[in-house]
Symmetry: C2
Subunit: 81 residues, 2 copies
């Protein structure tokens, strides 16, 4: 049993209206000091087996196929501590 | 300039239909070995200043106020390397 995290974020050159809406809301709520916000997705996958190289390779294929739209999104995979 | 990450996930006791849909789709796509999927949100905040204790305390307040619904969601804050 291992937990693998897949973080999916819009590519830097893709407009992120959700993030912009949050960035604009912060000053109205009295917060300052944040210049940019980007919103993405986080997936936690519980694996049946260990997070070895073969399993992580499978997770990479899952991310490319289902979790991320690689035309507009980047993803990063890491094993949870 | 520092980048702070806020990860927001549904609390473990809260049903996650999005994650369940992904978990059910994986075998149909030929993937095996994943027992559970949870989907959450990831926010990347660019700070004007350094990610010191005062700034992280502000980010914590932003998460409680705007980024997470603390009735049903947990959040975690960490500074991006």
């Amino acid at each position: 049993m291992a937990r693998v995290i897949v973080d999916v974020m819009l590519k830097p050159e893709i407009l992120d209206p959700q993030g912009q809406a949050i960035a604009r809301a912060l000053p109205r709520l009295g917060f300052s000091g944040v210049s940019e916000v980007r919103q993405g997705k986080r997936f936690e996958l519980e694996l049946d087996g260990p997070a070895d190289e073969a399993a992580l390779s499978e997770v990479r294929k899952m991310a490319e196929t289902l979790l991320a739209n690689t035309v507009i999104e980047n993803f990063a995979i890491h094993v949870a501590e």
